[in-house]
Amino acid sequence: MPRLLLLACLAAAIAPSVAPAIARADDAVSAPTVACPQGVLMLHMLKPQTNPPYPGQLALFKAANPCVALDIAEVPFGQLADKIAVLAASGEPPDVIVYDGPNTQSYAAAGILLPLDPYLPAGVKDDIVAPTLAEHSYEGKLYSPGLQQTTLALFYNADMLAKAGITPPGRTLDQAWTWAQALDAFKKCQQGEGDNVTVWGLAPSRFGNGTPGFVYRDLPFLRTWGDPKAPPDSSVYKTYWAISPDGKTADGWLNTPEAIAGAQFFQDLFSVAKVTPKAGIPDAFQTGRACFTLDTSYFIAGLTNKDPGFKWGVAPMPYTRTPIVHTGSITLGVMAKSAHQEAAAKFVIAMSTGPIALDLARSTHILPVMKSLYPSLPELTQYPLNIFAEELNQWGHPRPPSAKFAQYDKIVTDALRDIAYGAAPKARLDAAVRSLRPILAR
């Protein structure tokens, strides 16, 4: 009797795992039906939680393609890169992955992504906005049409600014504040002293788990001290780009004197002026615990759906020498080992173009990647979304491109976090460059 129990238990454990595996091997194409004479094709997709494509867009796809079904696996965003690395090496990777755009070069270089040029309809490639095209191309081939674009802007609590007697920042790009002006406003708006701050000047980052350092949000603090119009061998020029054009050196690009000055300003926000906290506070801006915050156009949807109870406004990103915002966002790609390359490619392209892309842009207020969609979205030329659209066109650059971006991202994020916590900027940036040297050079 006990023996039977043991065997039953083992069966119970293995069955849930084996059954789907067996099912998966055969379920790729199901039996033909009247509606789908070639059977229903199952595509497997890996995506991060709370990121697009959302059910709305997937439903539109299903309606237009009844003979394609989607099996979706979700992981938290922070584990996405690790999971992709592990799955790429395994025997059964998914057909489609949703991943962070700047990783396109490293995935393409490793040969795990499928080039999509053969599947693109005519004119699509020319329709893609420039930063997206640059970010998702490698050695002349396009690996992803892109899904959306996001930029950061400065949100402010209009009621609190009025109460503190601060003139709100301008709403056009030429009226953008400098970081010095922004810092003044943060200090004036902050309430509470020392250990008893009740309202922070600048909200903590919403990205990651609220710890500072995320390259997407915080590297521009350094890059804005650079100048792309300076002579190409000057440190000011190199500060703007933060990595060599071939993506193989950070020495002399990440740790320039200007970058160090930018890092010092960043550190002072936490330690000298103390206008922003070192640890995350959930929903700091919406609950009135911070006057300003840096966020994407997604944030607007949240503020309109759930009224925070105060008047708020949007202004362009502050700058020091040259305004800059990071572009690049979540995107879709087809895995090279997929057994259904054409169907997967069609799915990816459908998500990024036409009615489905329009639906995504309309419902979430993100910026589409297809230029032809902009005329259908008049809200992108009006306040507040026009700020994001114009930033994308005039100030937007991808995060420093490299075939080793994932490693660059981790090491620089850690360095910026440590600088926020008090590490000496020059020493810490030099250490980051030293850690990157063997990795980038390979």
């Binding site: 890169a81 690790d82 992709i84 690395a85 592990v86 790429a88 090496a89 490293s106 995935y107 490793a110 040969g111 795990i112 250990d195 710890t211 906290p277 070192k278 640890a279 506070i281 080793k404 994932a406 490693q407 981790k410 090491i411 850690d414 976090r417 440590d418 916590y421 008090g422 590490a423 810490r428 250490a431 030293r434 850690s435 063997p438 990795i439 390979r442």
Partner: protein, 289 residues
């Protein structure tokens, strides 16, 4: 004769087979991987670097820091847990009515998973809203930065391990104390020994074996710590909590250098083996009475 070997194979075969597949083979694979440079994204594209990875480990300040941090963490845990657990065991040895209740409470963190403990303490140590901060403010003590400070992060994690592991060590010490025959203590008292002298000359020597065992266990647990850097600090600030288990994980998965991670693993494994064997040899020393 053959039947006998078939029987033997039937009994120990499955065990040894699984052990070979899931323990021995990965060790061999790890040794092989440490000689190559490749990415997890595309393992077939690998280049032979011989002892290059090992050289990197021995010359890279970040790797050396990970070793230093891990071993000082283990030392910190042993040095704080042993006296605390011993004192607690002595206290419990005398406190008859409350003993069962306290022993249960003290053992709760031991049965709680490392992830749950790390998660709890992330919030407990939150510098603005955590419980520890609340207690410090209520008592009027100065506020601390805990995990966001280079100097406080590692001690904070040591405190967390102390909280988790003390119960385990206490139970062991308690059993050891209760195994000491009363007659020995009484004989010492009759001879005029004070409480302190009894402690030094009777109790402690008889607990030597238990102490050694606790040291071994605490060392092994600490050297393998993974949840704290993953869940709480990401290895920082500035690498001060970059324990080896986490360093190996991030080298392999985030930094795409599994060959280097394997080299670190081999060195780590050899050190753990050496320490464990040394401690086990010391354990053999008998204290007969």
């Amino acid at each position: 004769m053959i039947r006998r070997w078939v029987t033997i194979a039937a009994f120990i075969g499955p065990f040894l087979l699984l052990l070979a597949v899931f323990q021995y083979w990965p060790v061999v694979a790890m040794l092989r991987d440490s000689l190559y440079d490749f990415q997890l994204l595309d393992p077939s594209r690998r280049s032979f670097v011989g002892l290059g990875n090992y050289l990197d480990v021995l010359t890279d300040p970040d790797r050396l820091q990970a070793f230093a941090v891990t071993f000082s963490f283990a030392a910190g845990v042993v040095v704080t847990v042993i006296p605390t657990a011993f004192l607690l065991a002595v206290y419990l040895n005398g406190a008859l009515p409350a003993r069962a209740l306290v022993r249960t409470i003290v053992f709760l963190p031991v049965v709680t998973s490392a992830v749950v403990i790390a998660t709890m303490w992330t919030f407990l140590l939150e510098p603005n809203n955590g419980l520890v901060d609340g207690v410090l403010t209520a008592v009027g003590l100065p506020r601390l930065d805990f995990l966001t400070s280079e100097s406080q992060a590692l001690p904070s994690i040591v405190l967390m391990m102390l909280w988790q592991q003390t119960g385990f060590a206490t139970v062991l010490f308690l059993s050891g104390l209760q195994a000491i025959p009363r007659e020995l203590e009484d004989a010492a008292s009759v001879d005029g020994a004070s409480a302190l002298q009894r402690l030094r000359h009777v109790t402690l020597p008889l607990l030597a074996r238990t102490t050694m065992f606790v040291v071994v266990m605490m060392t092994v647990f600490s050297l393998q710590a993974f949840a704290p850097p993953l869940v709480m600090t990401g290895g920082g600030p500035d690498g001060t909590t970059n324990f080896l288990a986490y360093d190996i994980y991030s080298l392999a998965f985030s930094l795409q250098q599994p060959g280097l991670a394997s080299a670190v693993s081999v060195i780590f494994m050899l050190i753990v083996l050496a320490i464990s064997l040394l401690q086990m040899r010391l354990l053999r020393a008998r204290w007969a009475y």
